[in-house]
């Protein structure tokens, strides 16, 4: 599903992360690592937000460098601490992502309902609490028909009830559409809440399988 080819990310002269060669099959992966280990750097690079050397391939053929538009249609991302223009409303952000990611019309409705977002989604983002903002960014990551969804620290700032809903979203997309997930978290995922394929660890500027 995802393949790293001589991946290397530096911040100035400081080497942040290096993955020479690694292949991930379809599945749900939990990326562990302490604060500052490079989990967000890894996810932001896969999302196409940070620049890096080397290449990342989706399904063995779609390269983030050579087919940047096709790749971005198929890889969605939710940031750990999302930032959006304060003057836009949640509905306007959803419309923007629906257009960009070619999402089927009305796809967001079920998500809005299950996460109880209808009451605030029409308000400007500047009035949102951090939990509301986080819910919006998670929803945006589910729009369209991505093959891979990257969720950076999805557990922080949302309440336990919403967490259970998020787990259902992930399980449904994985089981019905075969969407893969990379979830980063320094906290424990609840036992059995998700059918995890494997656990990965970001440590000593590299990424490896655990066990």
């Amino acid at each position: 599903m995802l393949q790293f080819v001589n991946f290397s990310k530096r911040y100035g002269s400081y080497p942040a992360l290096k993955v020479d060669s690694l292949k991930l099959e379809k599945g749900i992966y939990w990326i562990k690592g302490i604060n500052g280990s490079g989990k967000s750097t890894l996810l932001k690079s896969i999302a196409g937000i940070l620049a890096f050397e080397g290449d990342i391939l989706l399904d063995g053929q779609i390269s983030i460098k050579k087919q940047p538009v096709d790749y971005r249609k198929l890889v969605n991302f939710a940031e750990a601490e999302p930032v959006f223009p304060e003057f836009l409303t949640g509905t306007e952000m959803i419309a923007l992502f629906t257009d960009a990611k070619d999402a089927p019309k009305g796809q967001e409705q079920a998500y809005l309902k299950s996460m109880n977002m209808q009451s605030f989604v029409d308000r400007p983002i500047g009035t949102y609490s951090s939990g509301m903002l986080k819910k919006l960014s998670l929803l945006l990551a589910f729009l369209g028909n991505p093959k891979l969804i990257l969720l950076d620290e999805p557990l922080i700032t949302i309440d336990t009830a919403s967490l259970a809903v998020l787990n259902t979203w992930i399980r449904e997309r994985y089981e019905q559409e075969g969407t893969s997930f990379l979830l980063s978290s320094h906290q424990m995922l609840e036992d059995g809440s998700l059918p995890l394929s494997a656990e990965l660890l970001v440590e000593e500027q590299s990424l490896k399988f655990i066990g």
Partner: protein, 369 residues
């Protein structure tokens, strides 16, 4: 109470001078450099004396001071509601109103210190020359400015934050679709109205000034070309603001499937809208072909300024040096009547810089975790 004064001075007065250091230095140098050194003291003494003896002169100076004060209100109010200073809403207003007013008076007096020092010297000079009525007005006016400002700030801090306030434009446009390219425009008209209006005022001054200076050859396309070059150069701050918004608030868009060409056209769209007032002027003044040529020139120069920032990042010093350098180079190219060639070359170079750097640079806001 000293603790409050100390915090307010550090946050607001120091902040004000840090942000406005460049323009204040410029004004200072302009005031010192306006006459040869040997006449400097005599010149300012005469200026101060006329302030203390001539009503019209005094009113003119008061108007200038008011502009400075309004600028400081704009800065301080912006800071008060900026989020980082929210702690003042649950700390400073535990002091009594009198104490708060006193601390804010000291802070505002410090912000106005360049005016106060100049004003006090003028009062001294006038007293020494036996003028009394107008100098007393100067003292009263300065005190009133300080006190009024302190009252405004204290009111703001003791009111409640209304996070839902939205500008008229956004309320009117709430039902419209907002495509990606429109976001930068909404940002400018929502949060950067003052820089936008200042830029447009500058544009008008430049156009009037250039055509006044070159009144004898005003139908020459080169004069119009130079006016457009100067007008676009006046937009550098707006271009910088727009790029900053893109780096900080639109970093999510780097994950969206937009091609580089689409993004480039998107920014052309943004500047097309921002340059509408100038375009209207061009088409009302020149023949359609000449107006179109000049319009294309302006758009190509502004895109070049925009794309430079992908290359070396949001570095204002370097950016201003490049803007100045490019101004000189383009000025000479226009003098040789190469306007038609210039537009495609500018756009080509702008696209090359954009293509080489857009996906190869990291957005400004880097949270390594």
């Amino acid at each position: 109470m000293r603790s409050l004064t100390n915090v307010l001075l550090k946050v607001f007065a120091n902040g004000f001078f840090r942000v406005h250091a460049g323009i204040l230095l410029f004004i200072f140098l302009a005031m010192v450099g306006v006459v040869p050194p040997q006449y400097l003291i005599g010149y300012h003494k005469a200026l101060m004396l006329s302030m203390g003896s001539n009503l019209v002169m005094m009113v003119l100076v008061f108007a200038g001071w008011l502009i400075y004060t309004v600028k400081s209100w704009h800065y301080v109010s912006g800071q008060i509601f900026s989020g980082r200073q929210h702690f003042l809403f649950y700390s400073s207003n535990a002091f009594s109103k009198q104490q708060q007013l006193r601390s804010w008076c000291i802070t505002q007096a410090s912000i106005l210190s360049p005016l106060i020092i100049y004003g006090l010297i003028a009062v001294g000079v006038s007293f020494a020359n036996h003028y009394y009525a107008l100098p007393l007005c100067i003292l009263a006016y300065l005190s009133a400015l300080v006190y009024l400002s302190a009252v405004i700030y204290t009111r703001q801090i003791n009111g409640l934050i209304d996070g839902s306030s939205q500008s008229l434009l956004l309320r009117l446009s709430s039902k419209w679709r907002k495509p990606y390219f429109s976001l930068c425009i909404y940002h400018i008209f929502d949060a950067r109205k003052v820089p936008y209006l200042i830029t447009k005022a500058l544009s008008w001054l430049i156009i009037t000034g250039v055509f006044w200076v070159f009144a004898d050859v005003k139908t020459d396309v080169r004069v119009a070309g130079i006016a457009i070059l100067a007008v676009v150069t006046a937009h550098v701050v707006l271009v910088f603001e727009e790029r900053k918004f893109e780096e900080t608030k639109l970093s999510f868009s780097r994950n969206l499937p937009y091609s580089l060409m689409k993004l480039f056209m998107n920014f052309i769209g943004v500047y097309f809208v921002l340059l509408i007032p100038e375009t209207v002027w061009l088409f009302s003044r020149f023949s359609p072909i000449m107006a179109f040529e000049l319009f294309l020139l302006g758009l190509s120069i502004i895109m070049l300024f925009h794309c430079l920032l992908y290359w070396f990042g949001l570095n204002m010093d370097k950016y201003l040096q490049w803007a100045l350098g490019l101004f000189i180079v383009l000025f000479w190219v226009i003098m040789f009547k190469l306007l038609w060639v210039l537009a495609p070359i500018n756009l080509g170079i702008a696209y090359l810089i954009f293509q080489k750097n857009y996906r190869n640079h990291d957005p400004l806001d880097l949270r390594i975790s």
